[in-house]
Symmetry: C2
Subunit: 449 residues, 2 copies
């Protein structure tokens, strides 16, 4: 059923573009969905992409532009004139147009704005530009269907028809008073089932979930997910209805946030994908590796301090990678659970309760793992004191790693820093060093040199 | 605007429940949204929760049940009789009811099914039970609005009104032929803007995205996200319309998948949350730690083989944690990018191209990091040969780790295993061992003992 993008299709298309066969290109792309057009353009070089963009009508290309891979979109926009971009923006929903302008330089954005003809549309877009991208104001679109509480159902229908022309999808019909203040909503289901001469005042649902322009994106996503909403109205500081956020934007937002968290947990510091250039991937990965390198040098420095101990008990050194790895693993596990708890807003109870629980959990894990390690070292090496030292150190290191893993994301979150930063290389590296330090100090104390 | 759940509210509620003050409890919960009722019930003990479930009408509690924390829901369902559960299921959408029954034992599910009165509803639910939970059939609900292509708009409206009563949200009106085969859709917008006496055949949109009952959940999510759909019809093997998947279920699905991947990357093997019991958390975390322990023992074993080398160049041992940590970090970085590429279905090009790119990337990173490490070791320790050995080993280890990190998820995916399993402890542990082995072998070769 869906369009299947094949290598043959792309090759054929490239061939046609090379021959400048506009007619033929147009005909094979005619019935293709804009999301598929975007995938096709992602696979073309810049020149070919521009050929397609200029060839197809801007109703299709404006939608396709929004679905393009970000890097490809930047290249395409860079190759279009302000007037050409303005034509695309005229066809876009206000929120998409604002997103495009937000990514451009102020100067270029100004040129494009000046080149746009539809004044109301431009005003709406410019209005959206002033909101933070990660707020309801930044996520909302101006397109919506609203009716005045003083109208009747009959009176509304024609007005709504006109408004619906500009709105891709009608979710709810919002009801406002004479001052544009949000009063409630009218569901399409109600419209299907209520008589035409009923006054709006009598049929609208006064309970309506809404957010303000300053509500954070995460909070909007949380509310829409919790209450299974497909659109939520946005009001300004004076409770006036100024826009709505739709679920498709929230789906994208949730996906992007999840990817960002996953990447941070994996030691990738900015949004990259597998198809990005080696240079982009290096910029995202190298900083964490340098951090890891410094951590490793720190660990080497600490171990150097214990060389006299090693001279007598070389076996101790064999287990440093084990201790470091376990410290890292436990730290990442406990921070990941806290990061998700924070993201889902379901962390209950105080920090101290949380830490006590983690200590109990770490003690249970540490005890089991410590016994396993003791069994291995004692039966393979036969040195009781050293075996006690190594397994006791593992036990203590697991508890400390759990405490660090639990507290760091909580502390970061309290200071307004994304707690996901705490997972991955940051926790691994600091726990490596802590773990090794604890290991050698404990071993020294137990063996008594 | 939203309901704010406070400790005071819960305490007051618990007090009222203790006093058996049903009237008062009912009145303070009257206007509370079912999603908030669920949050309240999550905070109560089982006895209090059951009090609320039995007190409120099942229209509210059936919805709240679906929003409960899974553990609490299992407890609540365990405390209700088959008849009581049947009453809840009567009020639920078919997909939710099927999800509940899927989690119960066959015997108990059978008891509940026998206790349900609405035969059509039961048939629909039982029908859903035969699909895999992670397929369009498992995600879909039977509730939808459909019209026959042979009707007229006028003829449809009353029929649709009747159907709409059973459907929480009308997204699209699906058009079928006399054999129930999906022909197309009718948008509500079209309904608003077209004359009442038009035949359906002339106004419906024949192009409609759909999936079959066997389409995987990931694929349904990808299609709905790509085409910004809010509902998608599901057809059976004979192209007959049998259900629809709505975006709210997909939002939950996406969120759960993202959480699962994040947890796998963090070394947590089953779905847990911060509020779960220590025992549940241990079961999710301990297996990966045991894997890490065995990895560490393996590393110790390998290092033991090189004790003669250590006796002469103790400094080499100081850098094993660094080598192991870098191997782990690089491995996780490269596998995470591949895992995301697979999840987003945007991995382009062949495996060998992918590996060549990773090698180039790893060489660039390895060169920079190797030079940094050489500078440190040479200027702090003054031993040229050892410094060359350590930094060369780092360079090689980074390349190998990148290759392992890239290929493992691709191989897992090709074999139908979730590639996210590859990230986290699995990659870290295997790369630790490989890294240490390469390190000592190279050092031995370079230093020449």
């Amino acid at each position: 059923m869906q369009f299947q993008l094949t290598d043959d299709f792309i090759e054929n298309l490239q061939h046609l573009i090379e021959q400048n066969d506009a007619e033929q290109v147009k005909s094979i792309l005619e019935d293709v969905h804009f999301a598929d057009i975007a995938e096709i353009i992602d696979d073309l070089n810049l020149e070919e992409a521009i050929f397609i963009i200029k060839l197809l009508d801007s109703e299709t290309t404006s939608e396709a532009l929004m679905e393009l891979d970000e890097d490809q979109r930047d290249r395409v926009l860079g190759a279009l004139s302000p007037q050409e971009i303005a034509d695309e923006l005229e066809e876009m929903d206000t929120d998409d147009a604002a997103d495009i302008l937000n990514d451009l330089s102020d100067e270029r954005a100004q040129e494009i704005i000046s080149a746009m003809a539809d004044e109301e549309h431009v005003e709406n877009i410019v209005d959206l530009l002033r909101y933070d991208e990660n707020s309801a104001g930044g996520l909302m679109a101006k397109e919506l269907v609203k009716v005045n509480e003083n109208w009747t159902v009959t009176g509304c229908v024609s007005e709504m028809r006109a408004q619906a022309e500009n709105v891709t999808r009608v979710h709810s019909i919002y009801v406002v008073d004479n001052n544009q203040k949000l009063k409630g909503r009218l569901s399409l289901k109600d419209l299907l089932t209520s008589a035409e001469n009923t006054p709006i005042k009598e049929v609208y649902i006064p309970k309506v979930d809404y957010v303000t322009v300053n509500t954070s994106g995460e909070e909007v996503a949380r509310i829409m997910r919790k209450y299974d909403l497909e659109a939520i109205p946005v009001v300004d500081e004076l409770d006036r209805l100024v826009g709505r956020v739709t679920i498709d934007d929230i789906v994208d937002f949730i996906t992007e946030e999840a990817e960002k968290d996953y990447q941070l947990a994996s030691g990738i510091s900015q949004d990259v994908e597998a198809n990005d250039s080696i240079w982009e991937l290096t910029r995202a990965r190298l900083p964490w590796l340098v951090l890891g390198l410094f951590g490793g040098i720190g660990a080497a420095f600490i171990m150097g301090l214990f060389e006299p101990l090693m001279a007598q008990h070389a076996i101790l050194f064999l287990f440093t990678p084990l201790i470091a790895a376990m410290a890292g693993n436990v730290g990442v596990q406990s921070s990941a659970i806290i990061v998700q708890g924070i993201a889902n807003d379901d962390l209950k109870g105080s920090i101290s309760n949380r830490l006590i629980k983690e200590v109990l959990l770490a003690m249970l894990n540490g005890l089991i793992l410590g016994i396993l390690l003791f069994a291995y070292t004692y039966f393979s090496k036969g040195d009781l004191l050293v075996s006690v030292a190594i397994s006791t150190a593992l036990f203590v290191v697991i508890i400390v790693a759990g405490l660090i893993g639990t507290s760091v994301p909580i502390i970061l979150h309290k200071r307004g820093i994304d707690p996901a930063l705490a997972t991955g290389p940051f926790i691994t590296t600091s726990n490596d060093i802590c773990g090794i330090l604890i290991y050698f100090m404990l071993a020294k104390a137990i063996i008594g040199i």
